[in-house]
């Protein structure tokens, strides 16, 4: 706070003096009375009941002194200084591509956000940052505070980019994987950079898109789709009723049904039948043929037993019930490369027929009670479809191709925030209110 007329603060001694006088010890007024005996009795009774209390100034006087204090301070023309010089709107791309690695162990998102904060702090000092990203509420921090990147990593990735074009304006900062292709005039830009990530990008009717980095920057390669619509591998240890349904489901969805032998070695077909296109381990795909689309239903030793025959709980905690088929636990796979990549879509003539996720439905062995056939079929059908459903976490070809040196560039600066606020009027209003209240209390 600063004052335009500091000398006026000398007048503060007036309310302070009044306050000191009000609290100063007072000699009681001497008066005569013919009822001294009654006063003595009343004082004795009050003391006996513990109600004796010290004198204190009346409330109206305290309120009036507060009003006088506010008035004196208002005379000094006070101004409140703003904490932040300016506010930046930072738009953060949180699509799956931003969750791919940069090579140093961090995701592109972490690298880019950290770079953006450093840029603002170094170039602009203490500023206020409004973080905006699709799917999550805006957050406001100061440049000296850590950004909410942990919260973003824990949340599901966004399916769309921020509205960059709508915020090509001074004070806007775009945080994304690589420099935008369109012309940017006013917005500042920070990119994560980092290497292009090889691997499966998307599946189409003509084949699968496959990103192959190379010395010239890499290229998108179209590979033939796996033969057949896919395979549904059923563990021999899976419950009978599940296997029965799998047979029906495979027929409806056009999957080849393969029943794996349970030889107890763990090397049976289903356990090795992990889809070859899945980057579940994040190491990219080695050269070779892409694997078949597979939906593996396998029994897992030690899994939770079926409670009542209407519940399926996978090793990862995914739960299917008759009424609610499939639910991924929150944050499952978020931030992990492997969970993002292995998605493929087999197409039919006019709609998605099958999708393959991590390709597995793991069920616990146990006695499956006879169920209502219709609801059971609906539940498991939804469960399998859920496993195969398209997922927003698929990294498209463009995302895998993002590469290059990181960029951090400020363009147009935002309008400066008000440096100071005039406090005279609010203080004068406070003083007037205090005087009015004191008058009411005095009456």
């Amino acid at each position: 706070m600063e004052f335009g007329f500091v000398s006026a603060l000398v007048l503060v001694v007036v309310p302070l003096g009044l306050l000191a006088l009000a609290f100063a010890p007072r000699r009681p007024r001497r008066q005569t009375t013919g009822t001294l005996a009654l006063w003595r009795r009343a004082a004795r009774d009050a003391t006996a009941s513990g109600s004796r209390r010290r004198w204190r100034p009346p409330l109206w006087l305290l309120v009036a002194v507060a009003g006088l204090f506010a008035w004196v301070v208002a005379l000094a023309q006070p101004r409140a200084l703003a904490d932040d010089r300016e506010e930046w709107l930072v738009l953060v791309d949180r699509r799956p591509r931003m969750l791919l690695p940069t090579g140093d162990g961090r995701t592109r998102l972490e690298a880019a956000v950290e770079r953006a904060v450093e840029l603002l702090r170094d170039e602009r000092g203490g500023v206020r940052i409004r973080w905006s990203t699709p799917g999550l509420p805006d957050r406001v921090t100061r440049s000296s505070a850590p950004p909410p990147v942990r919260e973003w990593l824990a949340a599901p990735p966004a399916a769309r980019a921020p509205a960059f074009a709508a915020h090509d304006e001074p004070g806007a900062l775009w945080v994304l994987a690589r420099e935008p292709l369109e012309q940017v005039t006013d917005a500042s830009v920070v990119t994560s950079g980092g290497p292009a990530v090889p691997g499966f990008a998307a599946a189409g009717a003509d084949g699968w898109s496959w990103w192959e980095p190379g010395a010239d920057g890499g290229a998108l390669e179209l590979r033939p789709a796996p033969e057949g619509a896919g395979t549904l591998v059923v563990d021999a240890a899976a419950p009978r009723v599940l296997r029965a349904f799998a047979e029906v489901y495979a027929g409806v969805r056009g999957l080849a049904l393969v029943e794996a032998a349970d030889d107890g070695t763990g090397d049976a077909e289903p356990r090795d039948a992990e889809p070859r296109n899945a980057e579940v381990r994040g190491a990219g795909l080695a050269d070779g043929e892409p694997g078949a689309i597979r939906l593996v239903i396998e029994a897992v030793a030690g899994g939770a037993p079926l409670a009542d025959g209407s519940r399926v709980e996978t090793e990862d905690g995914a739960v299917a019930t008759v009424s609610a088929a499939f639910a991924l636990p929150p944050g499952r796979g978020a931030g992990r490369v492997g969970a993002l990549a292995p998605r493929a879509t087999a197409t039919g003539a006019d709609a998605v027929v099958l999708t393959v996720g991590d390709g597995r439905v793991r069920v616990a062995p146990g006695a499956w009670e006879p169920l209502d056939d219709a609801s059971f079929a609906a539940a498991l059908g939804a469960l399998f479809d859920g496993v195969l459903a398209p997922d927003p976490r698929v990294v498209p070809a463009a995302g895998r191709a993002d590469q290059g040196e990181p960029v951090a560039r400020l363009r147009s600066l935002p309008d400066p925030l008000p440096v100071a606020f005039d406090l005279r009027t609010p203080l004068a209003l406070v003083a007037a209110a205090c005087f009015a209240l004191a008058g009411v209390l005095r009456r």
Binding site: L21, R30, A42, A43, S51, R52
Partner: protein, 304 residues
């Protein structure tokens, strides 16, 4: 708002100066007294009216009313007043009134508390009684205390009223001789009507009525200063009893004030109860109120 500091002695002097223990009848007050007695006379005549020969007791002029006591002649009962007030009163005839009245006026130091003091208020009502009594042909004995001794003076003729007022104006609230001491005066037993005026803080009600059987009629008026009612008090006070000189420092707000007011209310209720039991007209008044308020009640007029 007064703040702490300053000279405590100066303030004590100022507070003492606020109290007034003297009596002064200003010309305006004398006119009011005259007006009051004239109105009282007019009311008396109106009540007596044409029925005097039959209701007035053998054609005697009645000059006052008093509460009915067992054995009173029912012909003297004021039936109209009974119908209005539901309380029996009998007319006091000139012959009866002429017997003797005694006005006992407390002039102890506690009567000087307040401004105007309680003595001023009580003396104004005493003056009204004097005027009425002398006008009715009664012998009025004025009894007061002075230098710890009982003083009395008798007034017989109507022309002595101004002299009586001068006597009242000479009174000063001092000493510790209050109503309790004055009631021991033997001359009081010769009077049929006693008018006791004071703050009654030094006497128990029962003692006041110890010789009630000798008195045909009794009126008791009590005055308290505004500060003694507890009004307008806040903060702390150092109280001093003007008679004993004792002092007490206490708070005069909050629970202390509430307890004081409750104790005072109990005390006044006790007076009211005892007086009612003895069929004595009683009233307690604020010393700052106009004397007509007290006079109307003590003369049994009910309303103005």
């Amino acid at each position: 708002m007064k703040f702490g500091g300053g000279s405590g002695r100066a303030r004590a002097d100022r507070d003492a100066a606020e109290d007034r223990g003297t009596v002064r009848f200003t010309p305006a007050l004398r006119r009011r007294l005259e007006h009051f007695t004239a109105r009282l006379e007019l009311l008396r005549r109106r009540r007596e009216g044409a029925g005097n020969a039959t209701l007035g007791g053998g054609g005697q002029e009645w000059i006052d009313l008093r509460p009915y006591r067992a054995g009173d002649d029912l012909r003297d009962l004021d039936w109209a007043l009974l119908a209005r007030s539901d309380r029996p009163f009998v007319r006091v005839h000139e012959r009866e009134a002429a017997e003797r009245w005694a006005i006992v006026l407390d002039t102890s130091a506690s009567m000087g508390v307040g401004a105007p003091g309680k003595l001023q208020a009580a003396a104004e009502v005493a003056a009204a009684w004097l005027a009425v009594g002398l006008r009715a042909g009664a012998e009025v004995e004025l009894v007061w205390g002075e230098q710890e001794r009982v003083r009395a003076r008798r007034f017989v003729r109507r022309t002595e009223l101004s002299e009586a007022l001068e006597t009242l104006e000479s009174l000063v609230a001092e000493g510790a001789l209050g109503v309790g001491g004055l009631l021991a005066e033997p001359r009081l037993f010769e009077c049929g009507r006693h008018v006791v005026l004071g703050d009654l803080l030094d006497v128990e009600p029962e003692r006041l009525f110890a010789h009630r059987h000798r008195v045909q009629d009794m009126v008791v008026g009590q005055w308290l200063a505004p500060r003694e009612w507890g009004s307008g008090l806040d903060g702390a006070r150092r109280w001093r009893d003007p008679e004993s000189g004792e002092e007490l420092e206490t708070r005069t707000d909050g629970e202390v004030l509430a307890r004081y007011e409750a104790a005072l209310a109990r005390e006044l209720e006790r007076w009211r109860s005892v007086c009612g039991r003895h069929r004595v007209r009683y009233g307690c008044f604020d010393a700052s109120a106009p004397f007509e308020d007290a006079a109307h009640e003590l003369f049994g007029l009910g309303g103005r």
